[in-house]
């Protein structure tokens, strides 16, 4: 029987195995941010423990950094959290991309960008969207703060081997359908817990043809389906993305690495605990209408009705979601009016996302009454976009152009959607209150968000040449 990439990475990382216990796994890369780490460092200090491998630990601040006027931070509690991270990194010898660093950005954007993320690595971070790094064929998953402390102290984690799921997407995506729509479609069809207990391996023609940025978007939202990790077997696309990045070896050693990485890809006859097949040609641009990511419909569709609900629980969830969202059952998706647009987050804030959105808005104007924000995923993405003149395209169209951070993805900083207002957002969670108390989030692709910004409501970007764009 062949092995899947998960089997291979797992085997290579077992430090200790004992019957009746989880395996003790070695962790190759530990990413740290300001929100989920302070208590872990305090824990170390209390017990007089050291960080075992500061050289395999990398920190940044992203969750509550301001994306405007960075020199002047008014929120004292947030500021305290940032300076605490600075202090902790200094004391324990950890490299930090702080607020002034040219490398600063959302932890899941800068890991790949700096080449810290590599195939075959075990990668953890106190953040559930660590699954993003799986796009490189790494086993990457989110952990809690106790586990952060454990990894800091021991560079290992006790883990039971998860089940494996193969999610195969074949066929061809229609024009205007993006990686974001693929994962939203999966969630709309399989729900928010189909992946619980599994690692999802994404494969098939559609995945093979995606860029690294697009693969990251899909792996990123594995957790929205309940899966702690999602990954893609590494291939030429992966290797060429990594070549020349800061933390990736160069020359001959790189070639040796590539040979090793190639051996990680799942064998043809690998077995999985579960297999799902999807026809890529059925996927449309998707828009979430409810309060979890599975409450999502095709842009040319409508919100479900109570009569369509299979169970009482579903009926209640629908009613609760519609009450919160201020929407009606059966309402057409394209009739939903929006007041805010957020292009950003670890799901969709990489240079390709910014370019795709810029393409849509070039020479056009944001709809009156819509406030639109572009928040690049990293300062590096920001600089690249500025070199390409994309910031000017956005600003001339009426978008705000910001510094890098999580921003309106979770609105821990000042970027908040007011209560009762609708936001077309390229982020990953539409939970109640996520973008601010009472805020109403609609998850979409960057292209769909850009089109919504110009029109004040959702439009089917597949028909854009037919739509009157203001």
């Amino acid at each position: 029987m062949g092995k899947s990439i998960v089997d291979k990475i797992w085997e290579r990382h077992i430090v200790h195995k004992e019957a009746g216990k989880p395996d003790l796994l070695y962790i190759d890369l530990h990413l740290v941010h300001e929100v989920t780490s302070p208590q872990a460092f305090s824990g170390l200090r209390m017990k007089n423990r050291k960080v075992r491998r500061p050289d395999k630990t990398f920190a940044t601040m992203d969750h509550n950094v301001p994306t405007i006027n960075r020199q002047q931070i008014d929120d004292q509690v947030a500021l305290n959290q940032m300076t605490t991270l600075e202090k902790n990194c200094r004391e324990f010898g950890i490299e930090l991309a702080g607020i002034d660093s040219p490398e600063q950005g959302i932890v899941h954007v800068i890991g790949p960008e700096l080449g810290l993320t590599q195939p075959g690595k075990t990668i953890v971070c106190g953040d559930s969207h660590t699954s993003t790094h799986g796009a490189f064929g790494a086993l990457a998953f989110g952990i809690g703060t106790s586990e952060v402390e454990h990894v800091l102290a021991t560079q290992t984690l006790w883990q039971s081997k998860p089940k494996t799921m193969k999610l195969e997407i074949n066929g061809v995506l229609a024009n205007g359908v993006t990686a974001k729509d693929v994962i939203l479609y999966v969630l709309a069809n399989y729900g928010i817990k189909f992946g619980t207990g599994y690692v999802i391996e994404y494969c098939g023609d559609v995945i093979k043809n995606l860029s690294m940025e697009e693969r990251m978007t899909i792996c990123n939202m594995s957790i929205e389906g309940g899966a702690r990790a999602g990954l893609v077997s590494p291939d030429e696309t992966t290797f060429s993305y990594l070549r020349g990045r800061k933390h990736v070896p160069k020359g001959e050693i790189f070639d040796q690495y590539v040979e090793n990485w190639k051996s990680l890809a799942s064998d043809e006859d690998a077995e999985y605990d579960k297999v799902i097949e999807i026809d890529g040609s059925d996927i449309a641009p998707m828009v979430s209408w409810g309060t979890n990511p599975s409450m999502t419909a095709k842009v040319d569709g409508s919100i479900p009705t109570e009569a369509e609900c299979a169970t009482e629980l579903e009926k209640e969830s629908l009613a609760r979601a519609l009450a919160y969202m201020g929407l009606k059952e059966g309402q057409k998706i394209q009739d939903i009016k929006i007041q805010h647009v957020f292009i950003g987050s670890c799901t969709n804030s990489r240079i390709e996302d910014i370019r795709a959105a810029a393409e849509m808005v070039k020479g056009k104007q944001v709809h009156p009454g819509v406030r639109a924000l572009v928040v690049p995923g990293s300062q590096f993405v920001k600089r690249t976009a500025e070199e390409e003149g994309l910031n000017r395209i956005f600003e001339e169209a009426g978008f705000e152009w910001r510094d890098a951070g999580c921003s309106m993805c979770l609105s821990m900083n000042a970027d908040v959607v007011p209560s009762g207002e609708h936001c077309a957002s390229t982020s990953n969670r539409n939970f109640e209150g996520r973008q601010g108390a009472g805020a109403r989030t609609h998850l979409v692709s960057p292209q769909m968000a850009a089109a919504a910004a110009l029109n004040g409501h959702f439009v089917d970007i597949r028909n854009l040449n037919k739509v009157e764009v203001l």
């Binding site: 430090v15 200790h16 009746g20 216990k21 989880p22 003790l24 070695y26 190759d28 929100v35 989920t36 302070p38 208590q39 305090s42 017990k47 423990r49 075992r52 395999k56 969750h63 509550n64 929120d75 509690v77 947030a78 305290n80 959290q81 605490t84 106190g126 953040d127 559930s128 989110g142 952990i143 809690g144 703060t145 106790s146 586990e147 402390e149 454990h150 102290a153 021991t154 560079q155 290992t156 006790w158 039971s160 928010i192 817990k193 619980t196 207990g197 957790i223 309940g226 702690r228 979890n292 969830s317 979770l410 609105s411 821990m412 969670r429 939970f431 109640e432 209150g433 996520r434 108390a437």
Partner: protein, 195 residues
Amino acid sequence: MTGFQELGGKAVVLDRANVDTDQIIPKQFLKRIEKTGFGKFLFYDWRYKAEGVPNEEFVLNKPENQGATILIANENFGCGSSREHAPWALLDYGFKAVIAPSFADIFKQNCLKNGILPIVLQEEEVKLLIAKGKEKAMILHIDLVEQKVTNHEGFKATFPISDYWKTMLVNGWDEIEITLQLDDKISAYEQANNL
């Protein structure tokens, strides 16, 4: 953490599915750098109306539910963000166990590491508890060693837990301490793999 073999106490019903950690503890409270003091912010947006006025309709605010130590909820409890502030808030509020038909993976781990018992019961059993608990306040008894949930009215259910976690919780062991005893093995692994 102190170990325990059994728990007993008042159970309160939160009859909702897919309760995410953003609801358990909203992001504005994640800026603190301590582990304690999160209890007053538990379920904040549901527990309070605007300007911090308690929402009397919310289960935790009902007089008969004061002092509850066991939370009963519906499927997929704790989904979403990995924030350990969620179990910290539950613990600080006074909860020692959560009963549901299913939990999200990371949340479940986070509970165990903080000594909160995440108890998975069959859907039918949870339904029964939810129905009973909604009628009147209910006292439950949890036996970790026997892996049983019971009450005085004859309710009886067993729950799964790995031997590993049972041992850890019963003894109140510190996982890091245990791992550090394997330091030689970790070093050997690092050497063998040129790390």
